[in-house]
Symmetry: C2
Subunit: 308 residues, 2 copies
Amino acid sequence: MINKLVGKIQKMNAPIVVGLDPMMKFIPEQITKKAFAEYGETLEGAAEAIWQYNKGIVDAIYDLVPAVKPQIAMYEQFGIPGLVAFKKTVDYCKEKDMVVIGDIKRGDIGSTSEAYAVGHLGKVQVGQNAFYGFDEDFVTVNPYLGSDGVNPFVKVCKEEKKGIFVLVKTSNPSSGEFQDQLIDGKPLYEIVGEKVAAWGADCMGDSYSYVGAVVGATYPEQGKLLRKVMPKSFILVPGYGAQGGKGADLVHFFNEDGLGAIINSSRGIIAAYQQEKYATFGGANYADASRQAVLDMREDIAQALASK
Amino acid sequence: MINKLVGKIQKMNAPIVVGLDPMMKFIPEQITKKAFAEYGETLEGAAEAIWQYNKGIVDAIYDLVPAVKPQIAMYEQFGIPGLVAFKKTVDYCKEKDMVVIGDIKRGDIGSTSEAYAVGHLGKVQVGQNAFYGFDEDFVTVNPYLGSDGVNPFVKVCKEEKKGIFVLVKTSNPSSGEFQDQLIDGKPLYEIVGEKVAAWGADCMGDSYSYVGAVVGATYPEQGKLLRKVMPKSFILVPGYGAQGGKGADLVHFFNEDGLGAIINSSRGIIAAYQQEKYATFGGANYADASRQAVLDMREDIAQALASK
């Protein structure tokens, strides 16, 4: 799957992943109205609105963007109906041949991590049959519990030729509270980065490993260091746009081959029509606004990489 | 909710939580057979088997045990039908007046952590209405992303008078990989423990905080230290029984008031009938075996505390 991701990035010339992190306040009125008319102001109504909203965006961008990253929390908050919308979104994006990165940030120990890995990347056994539960292509993984928590994911990645992105240095303001703590002069995120390189060493695709990392765009200096610590790991970079990361900050996350990073934007794309810059599109044409925002983002990144 | 938990522990004289972490291999044949006959060897069939299995255990122990801790991964691996079984289990345990600790180990940033908090502890707004998604009483939270990831949970805990248990020192063999790293001579888990005490300081119940911690029974010395670092935090202690933690190891996790800790056992209770000790019960009476295992565990802990 890492080969597919790399191939699509090269073909589309777009190291971009769009975060499908729907919030009710992003969804244009015509969609919400219709969903509520059908299902009422219920969890099912919210889930229907989210699904229709996502579908519109995906239809407008799937030829430009290699991957999507649905954030499961935004669906899980609507209980079971929300998770049904998550699953429909995953399936639809895969139909459109997009790579799906489930932003689930799971992590546990032993048989429990195995259950998450099986449920999101692999197949679960029921009697004589095996079933995919959510069936994403990649998922994000929290490393706090150590190798016991990550290895079950790596095992399933090998079986299924899928991948993970391990949280190393997250984009949020307080990420340093624990991640920046110095251990013999070395920050914790660097130690985690070294582990990512080690976990990924024996499950390599053609040029990159199945095991990638998450490093926030808001921390370009740390990105520079981590790029060297994990040369064969793809870096998933959140924090561009709404969280303050700029195109020029991104160059450090890429290797000399122009690859090695994929930049995420969520509300900057999916709620583009609510920004002043794209306001003329209006809610009725929200998906066209998202398409234009993708084109602008692609240009911003290309310019930054050209001047590297 | 922390007051309810403390009250029930005192009344039942049982600082015990039973981990409802079902695996297909634990479920007695008569249950699986019936579920598969009705739904086939499908995700729905597995979910039905899990739900019936759980219900049998809960019916057999709810008068002895203050709390249950369903591990959501074990349900999530069966996709949407699995999560429906999770929700049914949560609701049923609450009907039986048990305190429900959702072992979800979620953790993200800002609005995303808020979505998890809202979905599992609070209410989500849909138009004019508000709905509980999963509605547990407590959840477990991963602290790797720092205060940004934990504060949204604390906010919802205050609104709903519910609680969290933050991962501090987990029970697994490799938990030390990151958690034991020394920062100026102090291990990371201690720094996380100090944060737990700080996060919990302004949301106190009568004697303990809404913000608790997870510390593995397999690390009694660390438990002793952390007990002092977080005097007002309840400690959820996994790793008793199957993972190797013994009654005598547990005394360090309790305060002088005989409170402050709740010990988890999962397969030691729910799959008791598969142990030699309880084999005479047989699969047909698996729930009675679970009840006996709870009585034995209660006795083991009481003896350990008496000889403290």
